[in-house]
Subunit: 401 residues, 2 copies
C-alpha cells in the first residue's frame, strides 16, 4: 500500500495550488487568481481557481489517507492516476458526460480539470426538490457506453485483461467491501445508528440470516465478477447536473467489477432522495412533483441503459457468440438483477453505515428522520430479497410503497 | 504480446540443455549426461537429462509460438514465469501433488524441475486400462486446496487482487477462449471432424441454438468469473500418476477464473477415457474393470473436493460473511454446476476441435471410433443442457448412459 511517504509528494495549499497552476501556464504569472478549497475533504483536496478574467479550473489532489476515518486508514495515492485515466478513457465514449482532464501529475497525485461549478451537485439539488429532467437518461447512457466498451463484448478480450491490470484497485475496493457490503450488516463500531433505530436494525438487519445471505452473495459478485471497468462510486454526490447537462466526476474507485454495481448505486441513491422527501417540510404539491420526477429518473436510467446497451451489443459486439438468440436479453436481465440487489445494499449502508448521506442527515425533525430511515431499511431489504422486481416500474413501486 | 524477439532467448538443443544444466551445477562438467527431448512439442521443449549415476531432471523451455497451429500463432514467453510461479505457489498448498521447481530462468523462459518419469502420463495409462485408485482423490484435494487458498475466502482479498495482476494471462486464455469455447461450435477450418461425423455435428452441435447459448454463458463465466488462481489446463495429459502418487504439471494456462473450470476439465477427460474404452479390443472383463475404476474416480474427485473445500471454508475462511448458514453449501453447489457445464464443453471440443486426444484418435476401428465420438458429443451436450445433474453419481450416470 502506497502512502504519504511517496517521494516528492506534498499536499497543496490554496497558495501553492495557485503557484502550480501558474507554473503550468493556466494563468499568467502576474495574474490575480482567486482560490478556494471546496472538497468535502474525506479523501482529497479540491481547489477551485478563478483567474481575473473569470476563467476557472479545478485541481484535485489525493490525500494519502481517508480523513473520514482518521489518519489511521492509509490510502494509495495511485488512485489519482486511476481517476484521471478513467476520466480520459470514459471521455472517449461519453465526452459530454465527464469533465475534461487538462493535466495529470502522478508525483503530486493530482489532476487539473474543467471546473463544473455552473452545475449543481445532484444530491444537494435533489434534496431541495430540484428536477433534472435528463439526469436518468444521461446516467443510462453513461453506464451503457462506459460499461459496454470496457467489457468482453465491447473490446478485444485480450486488451481487456491488460486494462484490468491497470485498474487493480485493492485499497479503494477494500473501502467498498467493508463499508458497503460488510460493516452495516453487523454490530460494529464504524456504524452510525440513530437513537430509536437500534431495535429495528437488530431485529430486521443483523438478525435476518436470509438478508445476510443475500448480502454475502452480492459481495461475492463485487469481489469476483470482473465484467467491465466500473466507475465504482456512482452516487448522486458524484454527479454535477442542471436542467440540460450531466457530468460524472470522481471515478477513483474504478476497477473491473459487475456492470450492475454502477447502475444499482445510482438507483439506490435516487431511491434515497425519494424516501427522504417525506422528511422535509415542503409543500405537499412540491413534494409530489419532486417525487414524481425522481420516479421518472429511476425508470429512465434503466430504460436508457437497456436500449443503448442492446444497440451497442448489436452494432459493436466483438464476442462471436453474441448473435445467439436470447443472449443479449438474458445478459441484460442478469445486469438488472444485480443492480436491484446492489441498490438494496446502498439504501441500507447509507442509512446505518459509516458513510451517511445528507438526504437523511439534514432532516431536522427527529421523528420524520426516523421514519424515513426505517422506510429506507425496509425498501433496501425488499430489494435484496424480492425475486419479483423484474422491471424499473416494479423497482419504483418497491421504493414508493 | 512477447515473442521470439525477446533479448537473449535461444531455444535449447539437447547439447545446450546439457551444458546449461552443467553450468547450473546439476551435473559435474566432466560427467556423461544423457539427454532426450520428450515434449509433445506443441508449445514447449522438454528435455530429460540423466547423469551417469542415474540422477535425472527436466528442463522445460517455452517456445515463442504454438507449433500445433504453426509459427503463425505467437505466444508470450512470459508463460514460463507463470508456470514456475504457479508451481511454487501451489507447492506451498499441496507439495505432494506438484513437481519440485529447482531453478527458473526468465530470459531463457525455462524451468528446471524434478523428473517424474517413474510415473505415467494419466491419459496414456488410462487408455490402456490402467487403474489409479488415488487419482480422483488426489485431484479433489489438489483443486480444493489450490483454489480455496487463492480465492477471496482463503486469502486476504487485497492480496488476491495483487496476485491476480501477476497472473493476467491473455495469450494463453485466448487459446482456451477460441479452442475450448468458440471454434468447435461453428463450422470453422481449425476443427477436425471425422468423416461420417459431419452430419451429426451440423445438426446436433452447430445448429442447436440452445446448446450454443449454454456454451456462450459458460464462456462468459470463463471470461469474467475471477474466483481463484486456476491451473487452467487440468486434463489427464497434465497429470503424472501411478498406484499411489499423483503429480500435476503444466500450469502455464494459469489465471484467475471460475473454480469449476479445473474440476470440469478433469471430469471431462475422465469421461472421455470412459467413453473411449468401448473403442478398444480389450477383453470385456478388463474393459468393465477399467470403466468401473473411472466411474469411481469421477465420484471421488468431486466428493474429495466437496469435503476438503468445506473443511477449509470452516477452518481458514477470511471472509466475514462466511459463517452465514447455507453460504458454503450454496457456493459449492454453484461450483459443481459450473464444473458440469465445463466438462460438457471439454467433451465436445476434444472430439471435434483442434486439440484432439489420443483416447479417441488411437481407436483403430473406424466404426468404433465414430461410435465413441458420437457418444462423447451426446454426453457433452447433455452435461451442458441438463438441469438435473446435481451429484457426482448423476454425472457418472450421464457419462455411462
Amino acid at each position: 500500500m502506497s502512502t504519504a511517504t511517496e517521494h516528492g509528494y506534498t499536499p497543496l495549499t490554496i497558495d501553492t495550488a495557485i503557484q502550480y497552476a501558474k507554473g503550468q501556464s493556466y494563468f499568467t504569472q502576474n495574474e490575480e487568481v482567486y482560490g478556494e478549497e471546496i472538497g468535502d475533504g474525506n479523501l482529497n483536496l479540491v481547489f477551485r481557481l478563478t483567474g481575473q478574467d473569470g476563467q476557472r479550473l479545478i485541481i484535485k489532489q489525493a490525500l494519502p489517507y481517508a480523513k473520514v476515518i482518521g489518519d489511521s486508514w492509509p490510502l494509495t495515492l495511485d488512485r489519482a492516476r486511476i481517476e484521471s485515466e478513467v476520466l480520459t478513457i470514459y471521455g472517449t465514449y461519453v465526452p459530454e458526460l465527464v469533465p475534461k482532464v487538462l493535466h495529470t501529475d502522478s508525483v503530486q497525485a493530482l489532476t487539473v480539470m474543467e471546473d463544473l461549478s455552473h452545475l449543481q451537485i445532484a444530491r444537494k439539488a435533489l434534496k431541495k426538490g430540484d428536477h433534472f429532467p435528463v439526469l436518468g437518461e444521461a446516467i443510462g447512457r453513461y453506464t451503457a457506453h462506459t460499461l459496454f466498451f470496457t467489457s468482453d463484448f465491447g473490446m478485444n478480450q485480450q486488451d481487456k485483461k491488460q486494462l484490468q491490470k491497470r485498474f487493480c484497485n485493492p485499497d479503494l475496493c477494500k473501502i467498498t467491501e467493508e463499508l458497503f457490503f460488510t460493516d452495516p450488516f453487523y454490530d460494529v463500531e464504524s456504524n452510525s445508528i440513530d437513537e430509536g433505530l437500534q431495535a429495528y436494525v437488530k431485529e430486521h438487519i443483523w438478525n435476518d440470516q436470509t438478508l445476510l445471505f443475500a448480502v454475502a452473495k452480492a459481495k461475492y459478485q463485487f469481489l469476483t465478477k470482473a465484467e467491465a471497468l466500473l466507475h465504482g462510486d456512482l452516487h448522486t454526490g458524484s454527479i454535477f447536473a442542471d436542467e440540460t447537462q450531466t457530468k460524472v466526476i470522481d471515478p477513483e474507485f474504478a476497477f473491473f467489477g459487475p456492470v450492475g454495481f454502477d447502475i444499482g448505486s445510482f438507483l439506490g441513491n435516487l431511491a434515497i432522495a425519494h424516501i427522504s422527501q417525506a422528511g422535509y417540510a415542503t409543500a405537499d404539491d412540491d413534494r409530489q412533483t419532486a417525487k414524481q420526477s425522481l420516479q421518472q429518473q429511476m425508470m429512465s436510467v434503466w430504460k436508457t441503459f437497456e436500449d443503448e446497451y442492446a444497440t451497442l451489443w448489436q452494432n459493436h459486439n466483438v464476442e462471436p457468440h453474441a448473435s445467439i438468440p436470447g443472449w443479449s436479453e438474458k445478459h441484460i436481465e442478469a445486469i438488472w438483477k444485480d443492480a436491484v440487489r446492489f441498490a438494496g445494499c446502498e439504501l441500507i449502508r447509507r442509512t446505518i453505515g459509516l458513510a451517511l448521506v445528507e438526504d437523511f442527515e439534514s432532516i431536522a425533525d427527529k421523528d420524520r428522520k426516523l421514519a424515513a430511515k426505517t422506510a429506507a431499511l425496509r425498501v433496501g431489504k425488499h430489494l435484496l430479497l424480492s425475486t419479483n422486481i423484474h422491471t424499473s416500474e416494479a423497482f419504483v413501486k418497491a421504493v414508493v410503497s
